[in-house]
Amino acid sequence: MADWTLGLYVFVLAMLVGIELIRRVPPTLHTPLMSGANAISGISLLGALLVAGDGSGGLSTALGLAAVVFATVNVVGGFLVTDRMLQMFRRRDDSPPRN
């Protein structure tokens, strides 16, 4: 039960942190923000690795492996496409893109 309560603490506090961080993001960044956040939601890849990799075989492993593929597409594609978009953003005065 202690595990549960601890998880709940993390969940509630992380929600608050998320709200505070995102609230003031300028509209111009909303799409990259969403696709970046989207890549982060692929964090379930960690869980997928654990359930697919425990060597038990059977249904659980098969589902886990499917989850590994799904989540990896999400993570890799999400971060790459976000970077591709952010590359294009530049200010009025600097001619070459930033970073």
Binding site: D3, W4, G7, V10, F11, A14, L16, G18, I19, L21, I22, V25, P26, P27, T28, L29, H30, T31, P32, M34, S35, A37, N38, A39, I40, S41, G42, I43, S44, L46, G47, A48, L49, L50, A52, G53, D54, S56, G58, L59, S60, L63, L65, A67, V68, V69, F70, T72, V73, N74, V75, G77, F79, T82, D83, L86, R90, R91, R92, N99
Partner: protein, 459 residues
């Protein structure tokens, strides 16, 4: 790898995720923020692979490499106009992965019986993850155009959806009572899959920014639920962050249309069944041409361009950039007024204009652009309609209260449009009939190219 080392890696990854998300929120640091978040993910993945519980590294490598190649290809090949579709696909995969993880963990060996808490969390993960998956598939179909983007209504849809949701909640309680047999888990996933379809299919194409934001939030919540099943705090942390981000964007999108989430979900807005207003016929518009408009623009001191989705559909971004450069070279101040729902997802129009190399600090939101409207010489509305409709100020209008670009307050208005058709809201726009409004009936791309040519010829 000793357990404390894994915990240490997870804590570091969590910290990097939060800092990365913070940096993503500011244009100057956004790229670094994204890289930090990606680094955090890589660290967490490597640490997990070194965990003693993992034995079949070969199988995992196949899955990881397959996924990475697919993801990289999608990210590389997608066109910026198709970004909402891609985000929908990624949302769906993320949600689907979380549902699979939750299900697999409950079905896995070593569970003589998961605790009641883990079982309920698993049920929620399967529910939210599956809804995200199928909802995203439908959203993708609507954005891509192979599912009709108009709201597909069917009788009793609210009742059917409510019954399915009630069944799922009952199933979650049932699983909490210790019934985590494969049949129960698969039944939950199947019903949730159906619910996801039913929830998105009645929603019209114009409301997609809200749907994409909401599914983004769900994909985060599903990951957090999977974290509860596995007892993994990093999943809970990251999932909650994404859940919060999606909720905020959902709220912003709803506010930009002045509608509640319930109204978006069940209102079936944008049906297109409301025909053009009857009074449209009795009023006249002032038809103009590129030469006249170019003259107006070339000798203005301040021009505001209001791009709508029609501009993106016509692929007119690069012509718009050329026109902007020519005007700026003549000493004209040019800015863009970006309505929050100008694109098909939050901030979409900004990305499309950034792709055409327009600097982001020329792109202003409503709060920045409206106060200066009265000292603006010309407002050019390109492929936008409802977002400049002054009727939004009229409490009796269908779009009453929707925040708008106050184009009608400018000294003169140019509307570039293919015809006098109505917008998504299916209502007439009085802006078109003002004395100081010039209508340029043309394809957006053609019009922008013509205007650039004419401006170049001005002395």
């Amino acid at each position: 790898m000793p357990p404390f080392a894994l915990d240490l890696a997870y804590i570091t990854a969590g910290l990097l995720l939060v800092l990365g998300l913070k940096a993503l929120g500011s244009p100057d640091t956004a790229r670094r923020g994204n890289a930090m978040a990606a680094g955090a993910m890589l660290l967490a993945i490597v640490a997990t692979l070194l965990d003693r519980a993992i034995v079949s590294h070969g199988t995992l490598a196949v899955g990881l490499i397959t996924g990475a190649i697919l993801g990289a290809l999608l990210a590389r090949l997608v066109r910026m106009t198709a970004m909402p579709q891609l985000v929908a696909v990624f949302n769906g995969l993320g949600g689907g992965a979380s549902a699979l993880v939750a299900g697999a963990e409950l079905l896995g060996p070593g569970h003589s019986g998961p605790g009641a808490g883990a079982a309920v969390a698993g049920a929620i993960g399967i529910l939210v993850g599956s809804v995200t998956f199928s909802g995203s598939v439908i959203a993708f179909g609507k954005l891509q155009g192979f599912v009709p983007s108009r709201p597909l209504l069917f009788p009793l849809r609210k009742v059917v959806s409510a019954v399915l949701l009630a069944a799922l909640l009952a199933g979650a309680v049932w699983m909490g009572l210790g019934h985590t047999e494969p049949e129960v888990i698969f039944a939950m996933a199947a019903v949730a899959f159906l619910l996801g379809i039913l929830l998105v299919i009645p929603i019209g194409g114009a409301d997609m920014p809200v749907v994409v934001s909401l599914l983004n939030s769900y994909s985060g919540l599903a990951a957090a639920a999977a974290g509860f099943v596995l007892g993994n705090p990093l999943l809970i942390l990251a999932g909650a962050l994404v859940g919060a981000a999606g909720l905020i964007l959902t709220r912003l999108m709803c506010r930009a249309m002045n509608r509640s989430l319930a109204n978006v979900a069940f209102g079936a807005f944008g049906g297109g069944d409301a025909g053009p207003s009857a009074e449209a016929g009795d009023r006249t518009v002032r038809r103009s041409n590129a030469e006249e408009v170019a003259l107006l623009l070339g000798y203005a001191s301040r021009v505001v361009i209001v791009p709508g989705y029609g501009l993106a559909v016509a692929q007119a971004q690069h012509e718009t950039k050329k026109l902007t450069d020519l005007l700026v070279a003549r000493g004209v101040e040019v800015v863009f007024a970006i309505h929050p729902v100008a694109g098909r997802m939050p901030g979409h129009m900004n990305v499309l204009l950034a792709e055409a190399d327009l600097p982001w600090d020329l792109l202003l939101d409503l709060d920045e652009v409206n106060p200066a409207m009265e000292r603006t010489d010309v407002v050019v509305v390109v492929g936008a309609n409802d977002v400049v409709n002054p009727d939004a100020r009229d409490p009796a209008s269908a779009i009453a209260g929707m925040p708008i670009v106050e184009a009608d307050l400018a000294r003169s208005v140019v509307v570039i449009k293919r015809s006098l058709s109505t917008g998504f809201a299916g209502i007439d726009n009085p802006l078109f009939y003002l004395d100081r409004t010039l209508m340029l009936f043309s394809d957006a791309r053609q019009a922008m190219a013509d205007l650039a040519r004419e401006v170049r010829e001005l002395q």
